[in-house]
Amino acid sequence: MAKIGDKKPKVILEEFKIKENSEDYGFADEQFNREDFKRNFKLKVIKKSNLDIEFDLIGITPAIANAFRRIMLSEVPSMAIEKVYIYNNTSIIPDEVLAHRFGLIPLKADPRLFEYKLDEKDEEGNELDTLEFKLEIKCTWKNKDVKDSRNFDAMYKNHNIYSEHIKWVPRGKQGTLYNEANIGPCDDKILISKMRPGHEFNIKLLAVKGIGKDHAKFSPVSLATYRLLPEITLLKEIRGKDAQLLQKCFSPGVIEIDKSGIAYVKNARYDNCSRNVYRYPELSKNVEISRVRNHFIFNIESLGAYKPEEIFILAVKTLKNKCDVLLEELNFENK
């Protein structure tokens, strides 16, 4: 695949193009082999927090990485507000715009606990597939004698309507099964509307389970991307002023200079792979910028319904399930 003797398959970034190598066919000449895949595959978690995860998948092809990414975005289910019953809306936001805003509020409810609502005619749904919320709020005067006309907090009550004002209305056994803290909007301070005295909301909201393919509001991630691992090699010792110039050509933290003034690559991982170094021909001939072709860095940010690593696992399971469904049908036909 890559040069003989070169262990890591690399893409070398030249000034205007990728280095052409007549012996390098990329992945096009690589036959899939189960033993090789199992031996070469590695998964490393780099950073993990409540909502974000960064992990490496090593030994896969772009096709596999892209299938996982696409499934995370559009086929892992989540709950979102689907029906909005507006009994009263005297705010300045039109009904249809308001309804759309409600739809885009991410919900904490775990979609695995609910079923898809299959019956289109049944508007209200039942306790297994629908969550009900209400928003009943009115903006009123607090004090009319405030001198500073910009001090809204002193003058009005409820002049900013946030997602925290949406109240969950448990149906059937929902109240005993789930905790209110794990059902409502992911963030308390999502601004829905601004109001002035006399404006009022009286709204019923119904949330259902869906997938991102149907509408982006059902997507469980705010971000799901992958990129290749950058690798920077210094071919010659670079010192003094050149070293400082080199450091400026890359993202902060990528190139460091040691005590004797010699530049070294500290951490190429977070380089943005700009080709700034090619502005200085004397410098660039001693630097090789490349990316590792089978080393994928995934970044996933969950909206709050799942832990980020769960989204990835569900995506892999979804892909497996797709194959299972098709195989079952093919095997059934052949009998």
């Binding site: 899939f32 895949f37 978690v45 096709a63 892909l319 497996k320 195989l327 095997n331």
Partner: protein, 96 residues
């Protein structure tokens, strides 16, 4: 959903002993099409493999497989799906 057929075959390849086929996969798009094509096209007994999404609003793909003459196209498709399953299993088995 389960009662509807997901895979059908386009007519026109009856003469060559089922070694070439175009499958129509309902409800799938680039997500499955691309990974399946990339795995199948590198098999030693595959002469050609490609897929197309005939129309962006129709949720189906046409998946073409031509074998070198010894294997049935449907067997290659099955092997491709099994290999994707193997990849998924390997990923799932790896502790996170």
């Amino acid at each position: 959903m389960q009662t509807e057929k997901k895979i059908t075959e386009i007519a026109g390849d009856e003469h060559d002993n089922q070694t070439s086929s175009t499958f129509v996969i309902e409800g799938e798009g680039h997500t499955l099409g691309n990974i399946l094509k990339n795995i199948i096209s590198n098999y030693a007994d595959v002469q050609f493999c490609g897929y197309t999404l005939p129309h962006p609003v129709e949720n189906k793909i046409h998946f073409r497989i031509q074998s070198t003459g010894k294997t049935k196209a449907i067997e290659i498709l099955k092997r491709g799906l099994e290999d994707i399953k193997f990849i998924c299993d390997t990923v799932l088995e790896t502790p996170m």
